[in-house]
């Protein structure tokens, strides 16, 4: 092995390793830039007014996003009410009761559904709810978000239940406990942390979803009027205000983004650090 060859190899090694480190550094830099700008531009404009006032008409300075904040919570709540029972029961089916053949088909379909772009889901909700009812509505948006949420909840619940060791199930069955009570009384409680983690992360995800809302919730200049009426939401408002030509609205978009980011990233950080600590 020639000396020159060895030196070359050593330097190739060093350079490539440094490049890989730079790749990670770049990722973290981008994260810092995004979070940084959002915080800098958004925190400035975030004040009590923003949280408590409704939006002003075009051209007027000021106003806030109170109704959009409500809207986000309402939509997330509505989607959860629909998605959680369906997702959890489906997850229980996949993990405990399903025959292997049927369960694998359902699992495959759930994975496909999870991969559908959210805008396509929005179009679907439009077709089955908005069009027949001749009105944009919170309900249709909630359904769209629920469709996105269900497969995620089902699969994470299933995974969490699979982690419960079989010895627990057998111990329960050996006590003469019925299958379904063993599942509800031993397996599900045992998987509860994982299930809750999955649910909370799914909630964080749909809280930030915008595409399905564009033509289901539409947004509302008149506040929250009811489930069968259009409704505004934070991400939707960010989108609309960002593309508007008014600097004041663009400022508000940053403030709303800041708020949304705190919500979504906050949930993610809390959930992940709790589950990390648990597994250590």
């Amino acid at each position: 092995m020639s000396e020159a060859g060895r030196v070359r190899r050593k330097w190739t090694n060093r350079i490539m390793l440094i490049l890989c480190g730079c790749a990670v550094g770049l990722c973290i830099l981008i994260l810092a830039l995004i979070v940084g700008y959002t915080v800098a531009k958004g925190a400035n404009y975030l004040n009590v007014d923003f949280l408590t006032h409704t939006s002003k008409p075009v051209g007027e300075i000021g106003g806030g996003m109170r109704d959009e904040i409500y809207g986000t919570f309402i939509l997330v709540g509505l989607a959860s009410v629909i998605a959680l029972p369906i997702g959890l029961m489906a997850g229980i089916y996949l993990a405990e009761f399903g025959s292997p053949a049927v369960a694998s088909v359902v699992r495959f379909i759930a994975d496909v559904l999870a991969g559908v772009p959210s805008i396509v889901v929005g179009v679907f909700a439009y077709a089955i709810l908005v069009r027949p009812m001749h009105t944009y509505s919170a309900l249709s948006a909630g359904v769209a978000l629920a469709i996105i949420m269900i497969p995620v909840v089902a699969r994470t619940a299933e995974e969490a239940m699979r982690l419960v060791p079989n010895s627990m199930r057998e111990a329960a069955l050996a006590l003469g406990i019925n299958r379904w009570r063993a599942v509800l009384g031993v397996v599900v409680p045992g998987a509860l942390t994982g299930i809750i983690t999955g649910i909370v992360l799914a909630v964080a995800r749909i809280a930030g979803e915008t595409a399905p809302l564009i033509f289901t919730a539409l947004g509302s200049a008149f506040g929250v009027q009811g489930l069968l009426q259009p409704i505004g939401a934070l991400p939707l408002q960010i989108y609309r205000y960002a593309l508007s030509p008014y600097p004041d609205w663009q400022q508000q978009a940053w403030a709303a983004a800041f708020l949304l980011m705190i919500l979504v990233l906050g949930i993610n950080i809390v959930v992940r650090s709790v589950s990390r600590r648990k597994s250590m």
């Binding site: 190739t12 369960a103 930030g208």
Partner: protein
């Protein structure tokens, strides 16, 4: 039902619900959970059916030419998908070109090189990047990235590489280059995470064998680890592609919304998702709406195909590892 009387005080007759009632409970629960599981299957089927029905007016009118036509005229009710399909593919490819080296490099760093105290926080941070809602990334892209692209990036590219048709034309900042970069930002976390997991699955013995032969760190990675998990890495990249194809908000906000087929990266364009997002709420009339829905169907088909392929590759890699080395 006791085998002997040891004079205990426990006199609870076993008033329980086992026996025939128990079997009934199991059956009910089975059917109940099955119905909910069925809802998932029905949703997908319903999605396909409903979309097809809504798109039918357009499918009927344009047939296959929908996929090849360049027109988009709501007034004359003539629609074609080609620029949107082109835009979707182009922006995704740009995104992959930028994202793949960064992702694989990051994955290599996280899986092979970093000591634990760096690995955990860095993985965590990259996961956080994935958690940011795309509308916020779009907002950032629009107000921070696009001006930056306009100058210095595009002006540098334009003046130095302007002989290539790729880098010609007026500098808007908005356009395919911006869309590609923003998509790269969104896609890097997924590819990194999956690649990192795939690399960690490579057995230690493989690496040890290379070290024993006197290979450097990089040579071990390059010659053993990466080839070993080739199909898994490819699967990760294709998963990222799937994500990029379906991405809507961030792209819509930076791509400039111009329905044309150009060769320049500087020019504005559309993707299928951005077209639907920007026009759907104003569309009226069966043909117009039908065309937009047909676009959605096309997008669904493309992402479905890509996701299935990705899944197969990652799955194949894991099962090969499990059955034998």
């Amino acid at each position: 039902m006791k085998c002997s009387d040891s004079g205990t005080t426990s006199s609870i007759a076993v008033k329980d619900w086992s026996g025939r009632r128990g079997r009934l409970g199991d059956k009910i629960f089975l059917y109940l959970t099955f119905i909910f599981a069925l809802i998932i299957a029905v949703s997908l089927v319903a999605l396909l059916i409903v979309l097809n029905i809504s798109a039918w007016p357009a499918i009927q009118k344009f047939g296959v030419s929908f996929l090849t036509s360049l027109d988009w005229d709501p007034v004359k009710e003539v629609f074609g998908a080609l620029p949107a399909i082109y835009g979707t593919l182009l922006s995704s490819i740009i995104a992959l070109i930028i994202a793949v080296p960064i992702s694989i490099g990051s994955a290599v760093f996280l899986s092979e090189l970093a000591p634990a105290w760096i690995r955990e926080p860095c993985s965590f941070l990259i996961e956080m990047l994935a958690a940011i809602p795309s509308v916020i990334i779009g907002l950032w892209g629009l107000f921070v990235l696009v001006p930056f692209i306009r100058s210095p990036i595009e002006s540098w590219l334009g003046s130095h590489l302007g002989f290539l048709p790729l880098f010609q034309g007026p500098l808007f900042g908005l356009g395919f280059l911006a869309a590609g970069i923003i998509l790269a930002v969104m896609v890097v976390p997924i590819i990194t995470a999956v690649s990192r997991d795939v690399m960690r699955a490579v057995p230690v013995t493989q690496r040890e064998a290379m070290y024993a032969l006197g290979a450097t760190r990089w040579e071990t990675i390059y010659r053993t680890v990466l080839p070993y998990c080739r199909s898994g890495l490819l699967g990760a990249v294709i998963l990222g592609l799937g994500r990029a194809l379906g991405e809507t908000m961030a792209v819509t906000m930076v791509i400039g919304n111009s329905y044309a087929l150009t060769s320049s990266l500087f020019s504005p364009g559309v993707t299928i998702a951005s077209k639907i997002a920007s026009e759907f709420s104003e569309a009226s009339g069966d043909i117009y709406i039908g065309s937009l829905v047909e676009l959605a169907l096309v997008l669904f088909g493309i992402t479905l195909l890509v996701n299935i392929i990705a899944r197969l590759m990652v799955w194949r890699m894991i099962s090969v590892k499990a059955t034998g080395e």
